[in-house]
């Protein structure tokens, strides 16, 4: 009752009640408003985010094809073994360790160490074959392992051609990311987009009973179609390597074949290269052994240095003085500006004074009075100094720039080198004079061959490129190379004149070691002094770069080729003698392959081979008549009694025989056993080679400069010295003008 309960007690109670419920719940509700209504969306998002687990789905890296559709680089599925140590049940850990160690051929303690780290994801072994995956899955099922081991699909890169084209292709790292070359330049296009599988999971990572799963499919990478033809590439690499070996080249070599109209690179080779399947191995065995012999502290550095060196694409990563090859540019500028005509004359005395400096011609006795046409074929330095000086620094620089020597070519490969040159203001008379014949500025081989292509295609600067088109997984073209001309540099008429002079140069001039019968080759040699290197250490002798740049066929140039050999230390270091034969060997093989038809001059046709008539199973008499009718002679081995039949002929029916050659007829089975040893013709003169061959009943097909000149020596032969062949066999011998200089 009220009188028993003082009002004070009620007041105090109600006060407490209001304090408790009002204040307590009031604050709590205020916070509920804050968390649920004001920040609800943010917190809900955070809660959902933490519960969503995404698994990455790897995209397949695109394939690289050559221009004929051959697969050059492709990805194949492999499986990586992933441990989730935090999900491994303790009582299963040891079973897993022993089992996986056995299957993966790993040490148990290594596996155990991985299985015990505090982690939700760790790679135990990357990129195993699918047979290993099957074995592991079977093991997990058999042992009823509840979790902690997963197989993740990845892709491994395969390069079926091995080291061929490696300096262009580059290679990928462990995560299939492009690290060098095309793989790096087109990494975005090739790699595609990773997919994601998003699932709702509880705090320990197992699925929640929600129907929440979202799959974003991986988007496979695009395929690349290169302009490179792997057949041409192989040919180029083969001859470039031979050139390096024959001439004891110390510092590597490069060669580029370019489609002169489109700028498409048909082949681009660099010595020494590597195997992109194992990019971190040193491909050069001798070098590897040398490095492995080094003390440990120096080994790693040397190893890394060697790796960087073998990965280089010398055709675009290195610069050099182009030397006399550049004269085709100075000459073009002179012709275009009307300073000279092919018949303008100049008298070379062997040296010329520019301000206080005397500059020698390579032939210090002097070329005497000569036309421009002759001057280029003589590669006369003073003539080009004169042209340069008449052009003046501004005009000279204008052409220098216009031919693309002041900017990167913009080829779709990484690491194009910055070249060095003088600007118009910096071109003082001496600098201008030296630049006029290709010294004192550095460019990449690619820039030089692009400039040569400009002359070859009628005066237009092209955009060099390696990739013709990028194609998506369903075959749609994503992008194509820009094949439009960048600009017209010289007129078609000037180009035509230069082409004509360069063809003459490659036929009878200083560049005749590049001559290929029937293919109207144009070319220019170059020998550059490595002045910068010599200045660093003058106690060492001067070193050189031998190069040869040209194109064919002259009447409608299709392909340009540059060959550059860095520091030849063999018998000669001159471009004509060192690079010319390499150029010739490459051109004579690739031009027929690329569909350029041979057109022989009368003079050439006279030296062409004929074909042997079919005389097997005829009597010796009948055979002799047939052979003599074909303008050939015949020799019989094994006796020639009346009515004996020919059981074999060498060369075979339809095979090539030198025009004045012979066919050897075999009439007895014993005669078939007869063989002769092929001699080493290298360095013998043409006359000697023919005499040696004739003495052994061997026949010679003459190639190279031997067709145009008699002052030649044998450079290579298609059948190795020491092989045993049947009498009558035809051997193709390539001749060069050994004393060819400049």
């Amino acid at each position: 009752m009220a009188e028993m309960k003082p009002v004070k007690t009620i007041h105090r109670t109600v006060f407490l009640l209001i304090l408790l419920l009002g204040l307590g719940f009031g604050l709590a509700v205020a916070n509920l408003v804050r968390w649920q209504l004001v920040r609800g969306e943010e917190l809900r998002t955070a809660a959902i985010d933490q519960s969503l687990t995404s698994t990455f789905l790897n995209a397949e890296r695109g394939t690289i094809y050559d221009t004929t559709g051959k697969v050059v680089a492709e990805s194949a599925s492999v499986w990586s073994v992933v441990l989730e140590p935090n999900y491994i049940e303790d009582d299963e850990r040891e079973t897993i360790v022993t089992g996986l160690a056995k299957i993966l051929d790993m040490k148990e303690e290594d596996v155990r160490a991985e299985a015990e780290v505090d982690s939700y994801f760790t790679y135990l072994k990357r990129k195993t074959e699918s047979s290993v995956k099957d074995e592991i899955l079977a093991f997990l099922e058999e042992e009823e392992i509840s979790g902690g081991v997963r197989m993740v699909e990845e892709y491994k890169r395969y390069y079926p051609y091995g080291s061929t084209c490696s300096s262009v292709l580059g290679f990928v790292g462990t995560d299939n990311n492009g690290l060098y070359g095309l793989e790096l330049y087109y990494d975005d296009e090739l790699s595609g987009t990773q997919g994601r599988l998003v699932r709702a999971t509880n705090a320990v990572g197992t699925d929640m009973p929600f129907q929440y799963e979202q799959l974003v499919e991986a988007q496979d990478g695009y395929d690349l179609y290169m302009t490179i033809d792997m057949t041409v590439q192989s040919i180029i690499e083969k001859h470039l390597k031979k050139g390096v070996e024959d001439n004891l080249v110390q510092n590597g070599a490069a060669a580029i074949v370019m489609d002169v109209d489109t700028g498409g690179i048909v082949a681009m080779a660099s010595v020494g290269d590597f195997d992109p399947n194992q990019p971190f191995e040193i491909a050069d065995e001798n070098l590897r052994k040398q490095i492995e012999a080094l003390p440990e502290d120096k080994e790693e550095e040397a190893w890394n240095e060697a790796l960087l060196q073998q990965w280089r694409n010398k055709a675009i990563n290195d610069t050099y003085y182009p030397g006399s090859v550049f004269k085709m540019v100075t000459g073009s500028a002179g012709l275009e500006e009307g300073i000279i005509t092919p018949d303008t004359t100049f008298t070379c005395t062997g040296a010329v004074q520019v301000e206080d400096t005397w500059i020698n011609c390579w032939d210090t006795t002097g070329h005497g009075t000569q036309t421009f046409r002759e001057g280029l074929c003589n590669s006369c330095n003073p003539f080009f100094i004169e042209i340069g000086s008449q052009l003046g620094p501004d005009m000279f620089y204008e052409y220098f720039k216009s031919f693309g020597f002041t900017e990167h070519t913009g080829i779709d490969l990484p690491g194009e080198a910055n070249n060095l040159y003088y600007t118009a203001e910096q071109l003082k008379p001496v600098e201008l004079a030296t630049e006029s014949f290709g010294q004192n500025f550095s460019i990449t081989p690619l820039q030089m061959v692009t400039a040569a292509s400009t002359i070859a295609n009628g005066g237009n600067l092209v955009q060099p490129h390696v990739v013709e088109k990028v194609v998506d997984a369903s075959g749609n073209i994503v992008s194509t190379a820009d094949m439009s001309y960048k600009r017209q540099v010289i007129s078609e008429e000037t180009a035509r004149t230069m082409i004509d002079i360069l063809q003459e140069n490659a036929t009878t001039g200083t560049a005749k070691n590049g001559y290929v019968a029937g293919y109207r080759v144009c070319g220019k040699t170059g020998t550059s002094e490595k002045v910068a290197k010599w200045l660093e250490d003058k106690t060492k002798p001067m070193t050189y770069i031998a190069s040869y740049c040209g194109f064919a066929p002259a009447d409608d140039p299709k392909y340009a080729l540059i060959v550059m050999l860095d520091e030849p230390t063999g018998a000669s270091y001159y471009g004509g003698a060192v690079a010319g034969p390499v150029f010739q060997a490459m051109m004579s093989e690739i031009l027929p392959y690329l569909g350029v038809t041979a057109e022989y001059t009368e003079e050439e046709a006279a030296k062409l081979n004929t074909t042997a008539p079919s005389v097997e199973n005829l009597t010796v008499e009948e055979a002799r008549d047939a052979i003599e009718n074909a303008g050939l002679t015949c020799k019989v081995i094994g006796g020639e009694e009346e009515g004996t039949t020919v059981i074999r002929q060498i060369p075979a029916a339809g095979a090539e025989v030198p025009r004045d050659g012979m066919v050897v007829l075999y009439t007895s089975s014993e005669s078939l056993e007869e063989t002769v040893e092929v001699p080493d013709f290298t360095n013998y003169s043409l006359q000697d080679v023919l005499a040696i061959a004739s003495a052994r009943d061997l026949q010679i097909t003459v190639e190279g400069a031997g067709l145009q000149s008699s002052n030649v020596t044998a450079y290579s032969q298609d059948i190795t010295a020491g092989s045993k062949v049947a009498p009558g066999t035809v051997i193709t011998v390539n001749f060069i003008e050994k004393d060819q200089v400049n």
């Binding site: 509700v29 609800g40 917190l43």
Partner: protein
């Protein structure tokens, strides 16, 4: 019991009264027998108990499945204790609370001995350490926290003393000293268990009762000063209590806590609350209970309530609790004597305090202290004790001067 019943107006021996009783009996055959208990209060208790069980089942099933391989692990034992507790509550409601006068001292002594035993037999089968805390007493057939009983014990002894000395509550000797000594004993024994939240509730309830009982306000200032100084000393100078300080830092900045402070539970609680927004994600649809929120069946069950039932649902539950506490206080204030009044107020205030503190912790209004939510949190013995206390309030309601339905 018989004497108290006879005094009730609703059961006066008049003929009309008998007739009335019969009518009422027919209508409420079980609960309103002899027209006794306060129906609104009983309904509120049963409603909250039912909602609490449903929410416990929802909140605990993922946790149970993960840790015990059985989704029904918590709900099964909780349901058994709920039934047991309800029976005990109803039985106690028939029991004349005046008999509790006789039990006030014995219960206090037993509880104090049990609290001492927890410390004395620490880390033995009698007083096992659970989760790093030394609070449990195991009597073989039952394991419980003596501090839970201590809350009721201190309410009972205070109500007993106040009802005797109500005229002298304004003196120090009768209005302060005995309570301070008793509170000191209880609080001291609970605090050495490192049971901060238990100490907090016991002290708060004790002081609330003294306040209601008539202790002069100036003594509260002194008590508050002493208590504050003790807390400050413990927080700032005792390394043992450094964890409390860290918790406070984490409380201010849960999403970006200082190093070494784990605010995972608070953050997950806020994620759960925030996910609920206005209408909730739906009963049983909580995402946070999937092991994100640690022990969702316990102190943080209200976060799951907020997530599943939203702001609206949480507000309804808060209102139900408010109504329960309000009704409890109303019953107490209308009790026919001072003992009933003080006992009722103590019980209602203790339950109210626990609800308020729990919800404030869950919403990060105050630092995380580890207080369970009555009727909701899992824990058999505390649920039985809570329902027994509700039984005492129901018993008081039988004779209180409030309108019965």
């Amino acid at each position: 019991m018989a004497t108290s019943l006879r005094r009730q107006p609703g059961v006066s021996p008049s003929a009309e009264g008998k007739h009335h009783v019969k009518k009422v009996r027919k209508k409420f055959s079980l609960f309103s027998i002899r027209a006794g208990v306060d129906m609104p209060f009983l309904i509120l208790v049963l409603t909250l108990l039912a909602i609490g069980l449903i929410m416990l089942f929802s909140a605990s099933f993922a946790y149970s499945l993960q840790n015990f391989g059985n989704s029904y692990y918590f709900i099964r034992s909780q349901a058994i204790f709920a039934v047991l507790g309800t029976v005990i509550m109803l039985v106690i409601s028939y029991f004349d609370y005046h008999h509790l006068h006789k039990f006030a001292y014995p219960i206090m002594i037993v509880v104090l001995l049990m609290l001492a035993a927890v410390k004395l037999f620490a880390d033995t089968p009698i007083a096992p350490i659970r989760g790093g805390a030394n609070r449990w007493l195991n009597l073989g057939f039952i394991e419980f926290q003596p501090s839970e009983i201590a809350k009721f014990s201190i309410i009972l002894i205070f109500a007993h003393l106040m009802s005797i000395n109500y005229r002298r509550m304004d003196t120090f000797r009768y209005g302060v000293a005995p309570y301070a000594i008793i509170l000191g004993l209880f609080a001291g024994l609970v605090i050495i268990e490192k049971h901060v939240s238990g100490t907090l509730i016991i002290s708060a309830v004790a002081m609330m009762m003294m306040f209601v009982g008539g202790t002069k306000l100036r003594y509260f200032a002194i008590l508050g000063g002493v208590g504050g100084a003790a807390v400050a000393y413990l927080v700032f100078f005792s390394s043992k209590f450094s964890y409390a300080l860290l918790r406070i830092q984490g409380w201010i900045n849960p999403f970006n806590p200082p190093e070494d402070v784990d605010t995972w539970q608070t953050v997950q609680s806020l994620y759960a609350i925030g996910s609920g927004q206005l209408f909730g994600v739906g009963l049983g649809q909580s995402r946070q209970k999937y092991l994100w929120l640690p022990e969702p069946q316990n102190d943080f069950i209200f976060a799951i309530v907020c997530e599943e039932l939203g702001f609206i649902g949480a507000l309804v539950i808060i209102l139900l609790f408010s109504a329960l506490i309000w009704r409890g206080v109303v019953i107490a204030l209308a009790a026919k004597d001072r003992f009933g009044m003080f006992l009722g107020i103590g019980i209602a205030m203790q339950a109210g305090l626990q609800v308020v503190l729990n919800i404030m912790v869950v919403t990060n209004t105050i630092p995380n202290t580890g207080i369970s939510l009555p009727f909701f949190s899992s824990g058999g013995t505390s649920l039985v004790i809570l329902l027994a206390e509700m039984g005492v309030l129901l018993s008081i309601s039988r004779t209180s001067h409030i309108e019965k339905t």
